[in-house]
Every structure is written in C-alpha cells, then in structure tokens.
C-alpha cells in the first residue's frame, strides 16, 4: 500500500499507466497475436522521440521560456549532410557521425549565441535559427534522398535479442542523461537555473556556461536522432524532422517534467514516447479517421496531465 502511494506521487507514473492501457487495448483487437510486433515497433519508433525528447528536457529544465524549436531542422540538416558525406560507403560511417555531431554543436552554439547576444527569448531565437538551418539543409543537396551505408541501414533496422538496436541506443543515452541529472554537479546546476536564474547566479553557478552546454547538448542529440532516423528510414528527407517539433515537447511535459523548469525526469520520457506512438497505433487499429484520431489524442493527453497534475511535488 505504502509503495503504491509512493509510486502514485512519482510524476512519471501516469504516462506509464497510460502506456499499458493503450498497449493492452491495441493487442486485444487481435487477441494478443500482435503483442510482439507491436511492442517492437513501439520501442523502435519511440526511440527517436526519446533521444530528441531528452535533449529537449534538458533545455526545458532551464526554466520558463526555454525550449528548442530548432530540433526538427537540426535533425534534417544532420541527416542530409551526413548521408551525403557517407554516400553509401561503409567506410565513412564514423566521419558521418562526427559531422552530424559537429552540426549539432554548431547549431547549439548559434542558438545560445543568439539568445545571449541579442537577449531574445529562446523560443524566438531557436525558431529563427530553425528557418536558417532548414535553408541550409535545402541548400546542401536540395532534398535528394541518398541511401545510408549498408551496415548502418542494417544496424538501425535490426535488433539484438529481440530488442531493436535503436532502442538500445536510446536506453544508453537515457542512462547517461539520468546520471547527469541525478548525480552530477551539472544536473544540479541546470535544475537550480531552472528554478531561479538570479539565485543560481548568486550561488556562484556559471550560468551562461551551463545554459550554453545544455543548448549544445540538445542540438547534438537532435543531430544524432536525425542521423539515426535517416539511416533507419533509408535516406534523409527535408521534412523528416517536422513531426518531432511538437513531439519532443509533448513527451517531455507528458513525462512529468515541470514546464516551469527545475524538475526533470528520464523515465517519464520513455513512458510518454511509447504512449504517443501507441496511441496513434491504437486509433489506427480501431480504424478511426484522422479527425477522431486527433481529437482522441488530444483528449488523452489532457486526461494524462489531469491525472498527473494537481499533485504536490515531493521534496527532491
């Protein structure tokens, strides 16, 4: 009983409850025959939202107004440029990855440069930056779809012991993120900045450095997700990141991270990402039209937050 009560106060629990409900409602249609297929598909596709979601979570933790809207275009640019560079050559996999990461670093650097130098709200700075990055993606190869190197295509679409490889990568990144948040000074710093920037400054935290690293971190994760997604789906497309704009924010907040900043959690991102994927699958499975599907998705999001919200955040 005690554990149940303690569990119900965890901000991430609600997204997980929702995941199981939706998962169950979906597999019941086929009498359970689709269990393995659906679970694998969910893990695969949730992995991408998890990777971008974690980056977004770090940024959102920095406090009100902090959000990175350049995630989709960063994914696109990293995907197009690295695939163009690798040009189906297995030997170029590492350089391709390095370039993708460098693109992330560059976008993050420019993002924070704008925020700092022009003192504009991050939401506007990253939006402006996303237009520029998107243009750069168009300019580099005008949207031609180049195939990924064979090894990468194989790796991203297959699994190890039944678990999709991309999900394993997402898990490793999540563990790293969890460690950063919960155990390191850096995690404390971003949480402090998220609660009160002046207080953080007065407590001697290098505020600019910390925020800068966080924006770079987010962009690098987005670039990495773009690299993986492009390999997974057989080539980079100019619109391949567009879904991840709302998605990356939705999984963060549904996962129980405080939108007002200062409080974040990693398990919630998993719950929310799986949930967002499964909800669409469920509604598709039930054969509902786009309109109903959208309405249901919205209502479910609101119900989850209603259940999870209104709680008294526990001491951390």
């Amino acid at each position: 009983m005690k554990t149940l009560e303690r569990l119900s106060r965890r901000p991430w629990i609600w997204s997980w409850v929702a995941v199981f409900l939706v998962w169950f409602a979906t597999i019941i249609v086929t009498g359970g025959a689709s269990t393995l297929g659906l679970t694998q598909a969910a893990l695969t596709f949730a992995a991408f939202s998890i990777i971008v979601g974690i980056g977004q979570m770090f940024v959102i933790t920095l406090g009100p107004g902090n959000v990175d809207l350049s995630v989709p275009s960063t994914m696109t640019l990293a995907g197009t440029v690295s695939l163009k560079l690798m040009d189906v050559d297995n030997g170029m996999i590492l350089p391709g990855l390095v370039v993708a990461v460098l693109i992330g670093v560059a976008v993050g650097l420019l993002n924070y440069g704008l925020i700092k130098a022009l003192r504009i709200p991050p939401i506007i700075a990253t939006l402006s930056m996303s237009f520029i990055v998107q243009s750069a993606a168009i300019w580099t190869n005008r949207g031609l779809r180049i195939k990924p190197p064979g090894f990468l295509a194989e790796f991203t679409t297959s699994g190890t012991l039944g678990v999709p490889n991309v999900a394993i990568i997402a898990l490793l990144i999540s563990l790293g993120a969890w460690f950063l948040l919960e155990r390191t000074i850096y995690g404390r710093w971003i949480s402090a900045i998220g609660q009160s920037m002046p207080a953080a400054r007065m407590a001697g935290i290098p505020v600019d450095g910390t925020r800068f690293v966080t924006y770079v971190f987010c962009a690098v994760l987005a670039a990495l997700a773009g690299y993986l997604l492009a390999c997974f789906s057989g080539g980079a497309a100019l619109n391949m990141g567009s879904e991840y704009l709302l998605m990356s924010i939705a999984v963060v907040v549904l996962g129980g991270t405080a939108v007002a900043g200062g409080d974040s959690n990693v398990p919630g991102i998993w719950g929310a990402s799986l949930f967002m994927y499964l909800v669409v699958s469920m509604l598709n499975t039930y054969g509902l039209g786009a309109g109903i599907r959208l309405i249901m998705t919205g209502l479910i999001i609101i119900s989850v937050i209603m259940l999870a919200g209104g709680r008294q955040p526990g001491a951390r």
Partner: protein, 484 residues
Amino acid sequence: MTGNGSKAVIEVADAKVSFGAVKALDGVTLAIMPGECLGLVGHNGAGKSTIVSVINGGLTPHQGSICGDGEILARYGINAARARGVRCVFQELSLCPNLTVIENARVLHRHLGGFGWRTRAKEVVERSLDAVFPGHGIASDRTVGDLSIAERQMVEIAMAFSDAGTTPRLIILDEPTSSLDASLADRLLAHIRRFVAAGGSVIFISHILHEILTTANRIVVMKDGRIVAERPAAVWTEQSLVEAMGSVVKGEAHRRKARDLADAPVVVEQTGRGMPFRARRGEIVGLAGLAGHGQTRMLMKLHATASADWLPRRDPAIAFVAGDRRLNGIFELWSILKNLSIASLGDLAVRGVVNSGAETERAGEWKRRIEIRTPDMANRILSLSGGNQQKVLFARALSTRAPVVLMDDPMRGVDVGTKQEVYEIVRQEAAQGRTFVWYSTEMEEVCLCDRVYVFREGAIVAELAGDAVTEENILAASFRAEAA
C-alpha cells in the same frame, strides 16, 4: 472575555494550525482591542505569521473560533476580514510588480471599481502615502517593479492604512520595518501611534525590539506555536523580552576590539563615483547609509566581477548571502539539503559526481551549528519559516571556501538569538582570515564592523574606521549630503 468593557475587534480563541508534523499554532488565544497597538515577538518560526494569516482570513484554523465585535464569525474568510476593516502588510512583499502603484491600489480595494476609478485610486493612495511618509517622493503612476525595496514597502504600508470605502480598523504589520532605514521606520512608528490614538488597532510584529517597546501598548511573546507571555509594554524591557523568547541573553552585542589591519592584503577593490571601495583580508566591512542608496547594487557589482559566468571556478572567489531570498536566494523546488550545498558542490564532488554521503554530513553539521529548525534536512525549503530559510542561505555561503563573503542585509527576519550566533560565527571566520562585506539596515550590525563605508545616492561619501564607527557618525554622514 477581556473584561474591560469594550469589545475586541477580532478575537481568536484556541486556534490550532499544523502543517504536516509542524504545529505552527498550538492553541493560541488572542484578542485585539480598539485603540491599542499589540506587539508580537518571538523567535523565527514561532508562529507569528501564521496567526496573522488566521486573523486575516487567509488561513482557516483546524480548530478554534474567531469572534469579531463580540459575535462568533462562522464563515470567516479574506473578504469577511476585509469587510470588517482588517488589513495586512505581509512579511514578504506582496504587490504586483508589473502594475503601477495606482493599479495595485485597485487590486487591493475591491470596491474601488466603476468609471473613473483611476482618479479615485490615485487620490486614495497619495493621501495615505502623504499621511504615513510625508515627503516620500513616490509618483503614484510608477510601476512598482521600478521602485526600490524600501519604496515598495512604503507603498504597501500606505495601502494598508488607506481608506477607500471601508475604514481600516485593524492593521497587521508583519515586520514592516525590515527594509526601511531608521528615519523611515520612525515615521511609520509615529503614524502607528497616531492611528492608535485615533481609535484604530494595530498588530505589530518585529524582531527589532526597541521598536516594539516604544510603539506597542501591550506585548505578546510567542514561542513554538504558543503564547508564553503577555504584559503591558511598559513593564517589558529588551532584556526581559529576549528572556521570554527563550534566547540566552548575550548582553549588548559587544564590539570586537579594534584591530589594525592596515598591513593585510587587499582582497577586493572597486572604484566608481565617490570614494573607492577596498576590503582587506580578515576584515569586516560595513556598508551603511539610508536604504536603497546603492549598497545592494555595489554588492551585485562586486559579485559579478569576481564570479564566473561561463566556466566553473575551481576555487570560489566570492560568496553571497541574499537579502531578498525569494528573488535571488532560495530554490523553491528543492530540499533544505540541496539548497544548502549548492554553492559548495565543488568540494563535495569527485570529477563532477556529487558524493551524497559527504553532502548529507556537511548539511547535518550546519544544521547543528546554526540550528535550522526542521525535523529533516530532506524537507522542502519552503517548509521553513522565513528566518530559518535565511539561516540556510547563511550556511550556504559560509560553507564555501570563498575568501570573501558579501552579505545583502542578511538578518532580515532573523530572530535575536540566531543573530547573536551568526555574529559570533562571522567574528570567528573573520579572525581566520575571511573577509566580510556587510550591508545592513540595522545600526547595531553596522557597528560590529571594522570599517564602514557610508552610501549616499549611489556613491560612497564617507569612510569610518575603528572607534569612529558609531551610530552618530554614520547618521551624520548619511545626512550630510542632504544638508549640503
């Protein structure tokens, strides 16, 4: 009842309030008569602000009753209280910083509405400001956020005394002078006396005992959620009050012996308008002058120049104790523990990874050392009373290795006993070579310093050292420019 014929404006009987395990009020009975000023004192966390919330209607006690003018008030709430003329100035500032003074008056007086309310609100505010703080110089169309803390406090106090339809009958002032300098505080105290003489009632809470002694008619001492003593003001002395509060009397805060520090190396330095600022190793430097004359700005500047924005410093150069703890002090979502350790994480971590064992140990040490009143350091910081939160901020700064500690009026809302302890700690640390730059609105504290810079209109106008640091000299320097 109280038995002297007239009926109490508000009377609380046997009120009990608890927040979780903490019994904030443990059966308090309190009556406020017309035409009296009731002084309320007690250590930090004694329950003063809580009883205020009960009287103000903002908090319904879990047990007990509230009477007004002799009748029991069954459904008592904020609006009922306001309708009876109860007004409150809260411990923390509670104006809307984005609104103008006039608009704040509109928010405060619900019945001021209708066409042309601006003109009426302006009249109400200005009349009251003029009455309480003659010559205040605050334009009523200024945005509150642009005002200094002292000015905001003045506006807030004036609003409580203002009359817009319902005449104020009982005014509760929860540490109203904490941000005011001596001359403004005097004006307020004078106005309280006038108000009381005209038949109004006041509940006056302060940690500055002589204010209470000179202003109140009757003084109530609270301790751990109970009233422990209640006598007419005339029979109290500072000494007996402190005793009743439960603090050991340390006698007059004795000045340290004047030390010759002229040979010690200068650790911080700043030039600007007026005289240059300089602090030596092991020195306690005071910043004095009327409130809001650039002392805080100077501290901020010192902090900004010595702290890193981009890269973490291996050895912290400077630590800061905030006065405005809501704004730049505490982290509200965190536990007391995390709030305390944030500035010294570098010492508690190996390669960026926090050692939670060492952290807990360090926090336990400081909890004992300055007596943070909490059952568990893992509780949220907001579960502490204002003064205890301030102690955490102290511990945060003192637990760093920074050779210089800046203090921005840090004793706001700290009780007498704790103050003495903190003074002692400051003295010890200074003896070991730490430098303190200390801005205070309380003369007693300024007089503890080795050297004092007096501020006037954003610049340093005088430097006093050693035996020259006296109340008279400081006051003289503060006002000299005005006379000139």
